[in-house]
């Protein structure tokens, strides 16, 4: 039997004693030369870029998968490298899953009705194209943007039910201008609070054995006060928390995203975890040390903050 995706996430957190998500946001110019140079001798253009992304991802997955259980490739960087880049994304997803990791595709997809079904079929579920069972992307979870209302979310939720997958709906994002729309006050509530109420409602009845729903929410680490309110509105929804580290969020800032049971949030860092070395001249041994060091440091910081608050489950 396939498990509820929320249970799978909590079990993975327990296994690693770590609520970290490693963001796989590759940048060609930041990948160590010891990886890119041999590839550039064999390939050119976007193919060289995509091969470098895949090789880089495999190496950091190999190094970090003992410490971190969840990865989040950012689709934009792979799409930027065209067909070859998207191939690298698919192979990254499969590689991470072969190492036992849970994979969130950060695509912020959004559309309605049968078009949303097509995204969901492509990224999450069994493919729904008539007579075809081949999977296109095979991710575990996908980020979804809520501007279109529940017409734009329900088709994904159907597939979460059917195929034990999950989504994270953007609620309060970590960027500076997120308030322009999300903080508007409508009928005594902020827009993001209203979206949060919808997410809580849409996620009801899908909870796994451990009480959480596979319909989650994106809540930025850079807005801890807002997170406190959102934690109350969405008690059973897992928060995917961007903005830690490079974007300014600290271990203290992310605490309001957790429930009293010490679960309910997974914390993403991208640059901080995948580029923790000086520049692309880094040696292979320095690179390996830096990746393991950064993953360990983030794990320890989150654990220390949870322990200080007295809610660390391990």
């Amino acid at each position: 039997m396939i498990m509820n995706m929320a249970d799978m996430i909590l079990d993975k957190i327990d296994e690693k004693k770590n609520a970290t998500v490693m963001g796989l946001d590759p940048r060609f110019e930041s990948i160590p030369r010891f990886i890119t140079e041999p590839i550039k001798k064999q390939h050119t253009g976007l193919r060289a870029v995509a091969c470098s992304y895949l090789e880089f991802n495999k190496r950091i997955i190999d190094l970090a998968s003992g410490i971190i259980g969840i990865v989040k490739p950012q689709s934009a960087f792979y799409e930027q490298a065209g067909i070859e880049g998207i191939k690298a994304l698919i192979e990254t997803i499969n590689y991470a899953k072969s190492k036992g990791m849970i994979v969130i595709v950060d695509g912020k997809r959004n559309d309605i009705g049968t078009t949303a079904q097509a995204y969901s079929g492509g990224y999450l579920a069994e493919n729904s194209i008539s007579g075809i069972s081949e999977r296109a992307f095979n991710a575990d979870l996908l980020t979804v943007t809520p501007y279109l209302g529940s017409d734009g979310i329900k088709p994904f939720i159907e597939d979460c039910k059917k195929s034990n997958k999950g989504i994270f709906v953007l609620v309060k994002t970590s960027n500076r201008s997120s308030g322009e729309l999300q903080d508007l006050m409508a009928g005594g509530k902020k827009v993001y609070e209203i979206v949060a109420e919808n997410v809580a409602e849409l996620g009801k009845g899908l909870e796994g054995e451990r009480g959480y729903s596979p319909v989650g929410a994106v809540v930025g680490a850079t807005y801890p006060k807002e997170a406190e309110v959102l934690r109350r509105i969405m008690p059973k929804n897992i928060f995917l928390v961007p903005g830690f580290g490079a974007q300014g969020g600290t271990a203290k800032d992310i605490l309001p995203c957790f429930n009293k049971d010490g679960y309910g949030a997974i914390i993403n860092s991208s640059r901080g975890l995948i580029f923790p070395y000086k520049d692309d001249s880094v040696s292979e041994s320095e690179f390996e040390k830096a990746i393991i060091g950064a993953a360990t440091k983030m794990k320890n910081e989150i654990t220390a903050a949870l322990k200080e608050k007295g809610i660390c489950p391990w």
Copy 2:
């Protein structure tokens, strides 16, 4: 010199005397058997699906490109077919452009900062990956979702300036639940009106010789009253209008999307234009007649409505 994308759209409308956009939203089960059967003999799985999409698109582009000047492939359906599907999307974009058509990729992408730059570099602009000039998708325009605020729109606008491309920001969408978020009343204004004000502001200074900005807005045909208000808020922004035909919008409903000069709106139909025949058993000659018939009918309906209002520019 490359022209401003808004000027290109208006010139294309004049050339065809037609403000229609043909939505390329392929469904495997709706494609005529005379197209799919020979492909199924050569290929299986998602490759058969993707080859059918491309062959189908080429045929309808060949048939309709004398009547319609703009196409809008819906990215979801191509992504659903994985790598092969995305290859079909890229080849469809290139084929439509080789026939002189303007191509809007309907991807509703949204992200911030350098991630938004990556989408923009992938779909619209010269690729910004260091040292690589190869283009990934080479679309003319892209749809963009505004939930993240102006951080999520400005990077695309930079590329509109630099590379003479364009975007359509989702403002008021055609679906039933669009109001859940978009119609919320905040400080005496609807959320979609506030988004519209931002779009008008962000598009300022980019206008072409004919007075329109390449920063456009998605405004659904199913909400004519809202369109009237939005036309006033965004006088210089081109509206991409979905919801005509199959979704219930009539020629009368779309009139408020136009300015008094008879420009300012392009009207999309997908199912109505690409599947205007009974089912997949349609013969080749019936298919050709149906595609040309549907394109001509929609052109004539829009022209008649514009003439009745006395604003038809041709």
